[in-house]
């Protein structure tokens, strides 16, 4: 598994370097802007340091698959001691490791930010954990598509699914009952997020849900890979 992880790191080296560089650059920019800013309560830049790298990872995760999508390579991979199971598992291990590194670097940046300003109110570490979980869930939803249809077609299927959901929401917004949303004012929305019991439970259950979905996705991907390898060129 260590060898496969190394291979994965090598194939994903450029995106990984870019993601970490962007994260560090944003942290430095954020700190200098914060130091020159009179609005000391603003922490949006620190939130961006926590969120943007996860988005970048989700945008580039196809690179993890691109080099493995050849029929002969799949046959060779199946003959290795790790078998196809190892090939699937390493993608999930690597995703988890990459997310942990992003969160760790984010935490170090956050720590420097808090240390220099002496103000814990600027910390966005909870946002980081929240997006860590959300990003894991999103990747877990994508990977079975990648394994089944390849990174290019999988990406298209993923995009089609997302657009279908958006379309359904838009149809509902056009023709469905939206009186609740229309009568709701912005402060109500904020209080809904901050005080609602439902929201609190959602936040509390998110990490557990992320773990379960990630594991289920791995099991589905195992089946999908076997089907998908037959369609590789």
């Amino acid at each position: 598994m260590r060898g496969l992880m190394y291979k994965q790191l090598m194939t994903f080296r450029v995106p990984a370097e870019i993601i970490i560089a962007v994260q560090l650059l944003m942290a430095v920019t954020g700190l200098s802007v914060y130091q020159n800013n009179t609005a000391r309560g603003d922490r949006s830049l620190m939130a961006a340091v926590m969120i943007v790298p996860f988005i970048l990872f989700s945008m580039t995760n196809g690179e993890l698959f691109r080099y493995d999508e050849r029929e002969k390579w799949c046959c060779f991979a199946a003959s290795t001691p790790q078998t196809l199971k190892g090939q699937v598992r390493v993608k999930y291990y690597f995703t988890l490791a990459a997310h942990s590194v992003i969160l760790f670097v984010g935490m170090l940046c956050d720590c420097v930010f808090v240390g220099v300003t002496g103000n814990t109110a600027v910390s966005c570490i909870s946002t980081g954990v929240l997006f860590y979980c959300i990003s894991l869930i999103l990747n877990a939803l994508e990977y079975p598509f990648y394994f089944r249809f390849g990174s290019d077609h999988g990406g298209q299927v993923k995009a089609a699914s997302v657009w279908t959901i958006i379309l359904l929401i838009m149809i509902y917004l056009l023709f469905g009952d939206i009186s609740l949303l229309l009568n709701m004012e912005l402060p109500d929305l904020n209080s809904l997020i901050n005080n609602s019991s439902l929201m609190m439970w959602t936040m509390a259950l998110l990490p557990a849900a992320a773990a379960v979905i990630f594991f289920l996705s791995y099991l589905i991907s195992l089946k999908m890979y076997r089907k998908g390898m037959e369609s590789y060129e």
């Binding site: 935490m107 808090v114 103000n119 814990t120 570490i125 909870s126 954990v129 439970w201 936040m203 509390a204």
Partner: protein, 296 residues
């Protein structure tokens, strides 16, 4: 050089590398903020910085010692080893919760005598409170990295080395004292006990050493039984993030929280926090010294 003296040399190098950053950073932080960091208004920021940077230094010391002494990465305790050790992983979570439960019970017995259970723990909004606790436990993942930093240093490097040069009980005591002394710059800056107590800072440092010896026994047991540092990391992260005070602030009544806030830190430490840790440490030591049962 004999094996034993090489091990002693490695222990000395490791300790120097683990202690040095804390000894340098703490006064610099005090200087930067213009007062003792943990008794200043910026105590929360100080705790966060030390909680991240400070706690990572033992792991860094582990890595550097291995490089300097050309030890390599053998016996690094970094494998998960989940198979067959599920019980120990569960114990790492349950032990913290047990410790908190005993501490809460002691607090009620010593300081809330005469108050009924419903007066101490009102049942209003219990569902939301449960969600907050679950949130806090799960979001302890933030503390995982710092906890890993300490555990990979103390339990993943120092303790196995100490066990090579002395008996296990002695190693637990010496390792705990070293770990406690490592906290000394923070204790001097007011961490845990503040600065307004008799015998400052020596009493604080001594109490920290006692606490660390007790915790070291249980954490070493977890590491030794599983061959992995992760159960100790999980214990450490939940212990740091979900203290008895956290549970009290969530479930306790206002009156109850006011009593807790009014307690002198050293008194609260001796009567509420230390006893369950000592019990846990004693259990850890007994289990560690227990000879494995021979199969018939």
């Amino acid at each position: 050089m004999s094996n034993k003296s090489l091990t002693v040399r490695r222990i000395i190098i490791f300790c120097a590398l683990a202690f040095l950053p804390i000894i340098i950073i703490t006064p610099l932080m005090n200087l930067y903020y213009g007062e003792l960091i943990f008794v200043s208004e910026k105590a929360a920021a100080g705790s966060y910085v030390f909680g991240v940077v400070g706690m990572l230094t033992p792991a860094l010391a582990n890595l550097l010692t291995r490089l300097i002494t050309k030890e390599g990465m053998g016996n690094n305790y970094l494998a998960l080893k989940l198979k067959g050790h599920g019980g120990w992983y569960a114990a790492s979570f349950l032990a913290v919760l047990g410790e908190v439960a005993v501490a809460l019970a002691l607090f009620c017995i010593f300081y809330l005598n005469g108050m009924s259970f419903s007066e101490i723990f009102p049942s209003e909004g219990i569902s939301d409170k449960a969600a907050i606790v679950l949130f806090q436990i799960e979001y302890s993942v933030i503390v995982f990295f710092p906890a890993f930093g300490e555990e990979w240093g103390w339990r993943g490097y120092l303790m196995p080395k100490l066990c090579e040069v002395m008996g296990k009980p002695a190693a637990v005591v010496v390792g705990g004292v070293i770990w406690g002394l490592w906290h000394a710059p923070l204790t001097i800056s007011g961490h845990d006990f503040g600065v307004d107590y008799t015998g400052y800072p020596f009493v604080g440092i001594l109490l920290m050493c006692v606490l660390c010896v007790a915790e070291n026994a249980f954490l070493t047991l977890l590491t030794e039984k599983t061959g992995s540092i992760y159960p100790a990391c999980f214990f450490h992260m939940i212990n740091n993030n979900c203290s008895m005070l956290f549970f009290l602030s969530i479930f306790g009544s206002e009156q109850c929280v006011a009593v807790s806030d009014g307690l002198p830190a050293v008194q609260a430490f001796l009567t509420i926090l230390l006893p369950p840790t000592i019990i846990l440490g004693a259990i850890g030591l007994i289990l560690m010294l227990k000879k494995p049962r021979r199969e018939a």
